[in-house]
């Protein structure tokens, strides 16, 4: 295995393009190192992107933010601007692992690991975040939703990597929230999760909504029926019931060591309902 730490995106792409064997990007390394040590993957090349300019920066951008691919959870959590605009995305990233993991874990890494249980991904789906992908042909910006394609699989080509996450601007009276279920209070992988983003009319009626669920299907899923259940409502009990039913219906989970199909289906709906209420309150809605 070779270890490289290029200082430009072009150098990084060049290294990846030139490598004929297996390569891995290293940002926070919280997944890559575990895979390395277990022998689960044996890459020929590891490219550390943290020394590339801009990778650890959070920059305002058109009313939203551009978040470098190597910005850690601890760094993003300390950024009041992002937290104010997209509290759900920040809390989702902050839920990953321990304080120690927070010192390293990144949105881009969480996304590229391809796990349907990745905490930040439902929140980014709900936020309709976009990512910049660098590759031999230059850079392109695509929706976050286009990246995961299956458990452990992404749509990125072998010499491509994500350089930044873009969180869009928000109108007033909008917010988001993320909740996940784990058996303990910390240190677990989500058994089910829900990210909800809402925009409200001045009277508190929901104008737009996005609802995404994690750990209930091969990839994180955006549940349009669930969002539709909220639009035009003030999130009253019957609306939330419709939301919950839509969420349960969208689940296609598996039985595994972390939870049963039945449990995931039930819990995803409960979390979506609770997250919707938190987002609603954050957006200034009152029932």
């Amino acid at each position: 295995m070779r270890f490289e730490s290029p200082t430009t995106v072009q150098d990084a792409v060049g290294l990846l393009a030139a490598e004929t064997g297996l390569s891995r990007l290293l940002a926070g390394g919280t997944d890559v190192l575990v895979q390395l040590r277990s022998g689960f993957v044996e890459p020929d090349l590891v490219v550390d992107i943290k020394r590339i300019a801009g990778m650890r920066d959070v920059v305002p951008e058109g009313g939203g933010y551009r978040i470098g691919a190597a910005v850690s959870g601890a760094e993003l959590g300390a950024h009041d601007g992002v937290r104010g605009l997209w509290p759900g995305v920040v809390e989702a990233l902050e839920l990953i692992g321990s304080t120690q993991i927070q010192g390293r874990a990144t949105l881009a890494g969480n996304l590229c690991n391809g796990s349907p249980a990745a905490d930040s991904v439902p929140a980014m789906f709900a936020a309709d975040a976009r990512v910049t992908v660098a590759g031999p042909g230059g850079e392109r910006t695509v929706p976050v939703m286009s990246i995961p394609v299956g458990p452990g699989k992404t749509s990125l080509a072998r010499s491509e990597f994500i350089t930044a996450i873009h969180l869009p601007a928000r109108p007033d009276r909008s917010s988001d929230a993320y909740l996940r279920f784990i058996p303990r209070t910390e240190m677990d992988i989500a058994v089910a999760s829900a990210g909800v983003s809402l925009e409200l009319e001045p009277d508190g009626t929901c104008r737009a909504a996005r609802v995404a669920l994690g750990a209930v299907a091969p990839t994180v899923v955006l549940v349009e029926d669930a969002a539709a259940a909220l639009v035009g409502t003030r999130l009253e009990e019957g609306d939330l019931k419709t939301l919950a039913e839509a969420c349960s219906a969208a689940c296609n989970p598996i039985d595994d060591k972390r939870g049963t199909i039945e449990f995931r289906r039930d819990v995803a709906a409960v979390l979506a309902r609770r997250a919707a209420l938190i987002a609603y309150e954050r957006a200034g809605g009152t029932q």
Binding site: M1, S5, V34, V46, T99, Q100, R104, E186
Partner: protein, 158 residues
């Protein structure tokens, strides 16, 4: 596969070592630099026994490649005491009997110091969540939490 020459700072000392490209910071500290205070309890970032700071940020040394530390500052449990003066956290852990077997203690001390450096007045819940990545199987955490809270109170008065 050739070894990588790394120049780094550990507890303020400029050090250099040769490491394999896939070698972790934990292995380099323990096997190359003779600093065995950081322990390997899991190797997957789930137990916190190898907690160290990297440029002041709390991390698991088992999840950092040694080669990544080029030009950066590493802090370990061996750097907590100032010469023969223990750090207040170390004193309080002894006073409160906040350790039994002691194998998680180095990681917990490094983590607790990182907390108090950032937040001089944490409440019990904040301490518990901050230390959630540091497993202790002996104490049930009670005396650890008390020792951290008591240290913070003393430091605020000092």
């Amino acid at each position: 596969m050739s070894r990588i020459h790394v120049n780094t700072s550990v507890n303020g000392d400029a050090l250099d070592f040769l490491c394999e490209p896939n070698e972790t910071l934990l292995d380099a500290l323990r096997n190359r630099l003779g600093l065995t205070g950081a322990k390997e309890g899991c190797g997957t970032g789930d137990c916190g026994a190898c907690s160290v700071t990297l440029d002041g940020s709390l991390v698991c040394a088992c999840l950092v490649l040694a080669a990544e530390t080029e030009g950066r500052e590493v802090g370990t449990v061996e750097g907590l005491a100032d010469g023969d003066h223990l750090h207040p956290l170390q004193e309080k852990f002894l006073e409160h009997a906040a350790l039994q077997c002691g194998v998680c203690t180095p990681g917990i001390l490094v983590a607790a110091k990182a907390l108090l450096d950032r937040n001089p007045d944490p409440d019990e819940t904040e301490v518990r969540y901050w230390l959630a990545g540091n497993l202790c199987r002996c104490t049930g955490y009670d005396k650890i939490i008390r020792a951290v809270l008591d240290t913070a109170a003393d430091l605020r008065e000092a």
